[in-house]
Each structure stands twice: as C-alpha cells, then as structure tokens.
Amino acid sequence: MIRSEILKEIAPILRDQLVVCNIGIPSQELHAIDDQPTNFYMLGTMGLASSIGLGLALAQPKKVIAIDGDGSVLTNLGTLPTIANNVANNFILMIVDNGSYGSTGDQPTYAGMKTSLAKVAEACGCENVVECAAEDTGRVLQEALDGDQMTIIVCKCESGNAKMPVITMDPVVIRDRFMTEVAK
C-alpha cells in the first residue's frame, strides 16, 4: 500500500476530526480524496505539521490528528521530545513512513534504512507509540481516537505517490475555514 491508498481508507475516520496535513503530495492527496474544512493543508514549511498539531491540541480540547511523513519528522526531529514532554491526550501524530522523500522524487530517507522512528519516539519519552503495517492503519487510528491518550502512530508503507493536482486554495482561506471549524 502507498500513502494515497492509506488516506483513501482512513478518509471516513479523518472526516470528523481536525487534521493538520503535511506539506506537498500528502496534502494534495488528502485534498483530492476528501477535502474538508477541518483539514489544515500545509503549503510550505517542511517539518512543522507535528508542531502545529501539538500547538493546536494544547490550545483547545478537540482531537487533533497530525499527518506527517518520515522525511518531515527527520527534518524536525526536535519535535518528538517536545511532544513527549508536553502531553496532550487529544493529540495523535500519524507518521506515514514510506522510507522516502515522496514529494521530491522518492529519494530514500534514513527512516527507511537503519533509523526506527518508533524507537526514536520512545527514546524521546513518548509513552504510547504504535508501529503498524499500512493495512492496519484504519484500525490503529480508530483505537487511538477511542483511547483518549496521546498516541504516535508509525505506519510503515510503500513508497509512491498518486498524481493529484496542486492545491490552489488561498492559504488565508484554508486557515480561516479551519479556524471556524475549530471554534465550532
């Protein structure tokens, strides 16, 4: 399974949640599969989906799912100790770990080599880390949502991208409709 197939499968679960989605192809895929005002698409700033998600989760009570990638987490590895030490039980960080920089031409990441992001997260102090196969993502995500405990999901999948259009929505529109949903 590749990322877009996972996103298609979990779209019904994501639909009712606040979602902060990683820059590049992940956001393009989610936008094309099931655009929702509850989705915050990152159009730039690689690496910060988990930080934005944590900030949002700490600021208000609704559940927040940050969809991140292995390459982006490696870019902002300092995020994991911050997450571990600022527990927000309404926060789920879902790392789609396909072992590659998907948006830039599928170059391999260290997460697809010797580095285990699940172990890194645990070593950083994250208490509820689940590594799963792509096929189990829906179940694991639903369990995390039902669990009311901050959860880091590392979903191991194959490298590859679906061809989707670039998001042309204005960033202020993305932000404004998202904030309207947050405040509801």
Binding site: G47, L48, L58, A59, N76, T82, R175
Partner: protein, 167 residues
C-alpha cells in the same frame, strides 16, 4: 534571578492576553523565562528550535490562543522560511521577543556576526521591528502586542544589552 524588568514584561504580555509562549533560551531572557514559567495565565512550551516554536505558536493561534515566541536574534537564520511560508503566508500574528545579542557591551565576538544581519533580515522580510535600547522603551510593549494582533503579522521586538543593563 528574575528582576523587576522581567516581571514587568511578563505582566504586560499577560495584560494584553498573551497566554501561550514558546521559548528557546538566551542568557538575557532567562529572567523573563523564569517569571513566565511561574505565571498561571501562560501556557509555556519550551521548544528545541525556533522554527519548531513558530509551528507550535501557529497551532496555538488556530486553537484560539494568543501566542508569542521568545528567542535570540541568531535564530532568525533558522526561521526565515517558517516566517515567510507559515506565519506570513497564512497571515498569523506572532510577537517575537528577541534578545539582540552582538550589540554594545557584547563580550562574545561571534554574536556580532548575526547582529549585523539582524535588522537587514527583518527589513527584507517586511517584519515590523521595534528596538528596545533604553529601559523606558519597554513602555511601548503593550501597544506593540495590540498592534501585532491587530495586523496579523509577525512583529519583532529587539532587546539589546543596554536595555537589559549589561551582561
């Protein structure tokens, strides 16, 4: 050990509704960080790098908080992309209380290397910038916070060694 000026700054921030602050420490800002850590009205989240901190602030803002970041001027070098493609692109307010290292009284030569770029970078980014040099300059802090949340922009407050009363 926190001084009156540190308490004054934190009290101005809380009076203007700032309730979520992320920090990467600087010696000059240690007193402010000490005070805000003890402030019940402020959610303090230390971050490991300033761009990460700006991500936290962006999320907190969208969650209804009034965020601010406390950082050193050297960190402008690692936050340019985040300022342009997150804070400015999505039009988010972000007061940045910045220790302006490398100015008069600076004992560490290397700090001057980023000090000479600090205002140029901020000007290049069209970031409104206020420079606290004399102790009375702090009188404007409250207005600067209001201004930041009025215009939805990142706004820099540079605080140099003369303002803090030396090292």
């Amino acid at each position: 050990m926190a001084k009156d000026i540190d308490r004054r700054i934190v009290s101005d921030l809380t009076e203007k509704g700032v309730n979520f602050i992320t920090t990467v420490p600087c010696k000059q800002l240690a007193g402010v960080i000490e005070v805000l850590e003890e402030s019940p009205d402020i959610h303090h989240v230390p971050s490991n790098k300033e761009d990460e901190g700006m991500g936290l602030c962006a999320g907190a803002f969208m969650g209804g908080k009034k965020p601010a970041i406390i950082m050193q001027n050297t960190a402008l070098g690692v936050t340019i992309n985040t300022l342009a493609t997150l804070i400015q692109y999505y039009r988010m307010p972000l007061p940045m209380l910045i220790s302006y290292r490398g100015e008069l009284g600076e004992p560490v030569a290397c700090q001057v290397e980023m000090a000479v770029h600090t205002k140029a970078l901020l000007a290049q980014m069209n970031i409104p910038t206020y420079h606290f040099h004399k102790r009375d300059d702090v009188e404007e802090l409250g207005k600067i916070i209001d201004y930041t949340f009025m215009c939805n922009k990142p706004v820099a407050i540079l605080t140099d060694a003369s303002f803090w009363g030396g090292y």
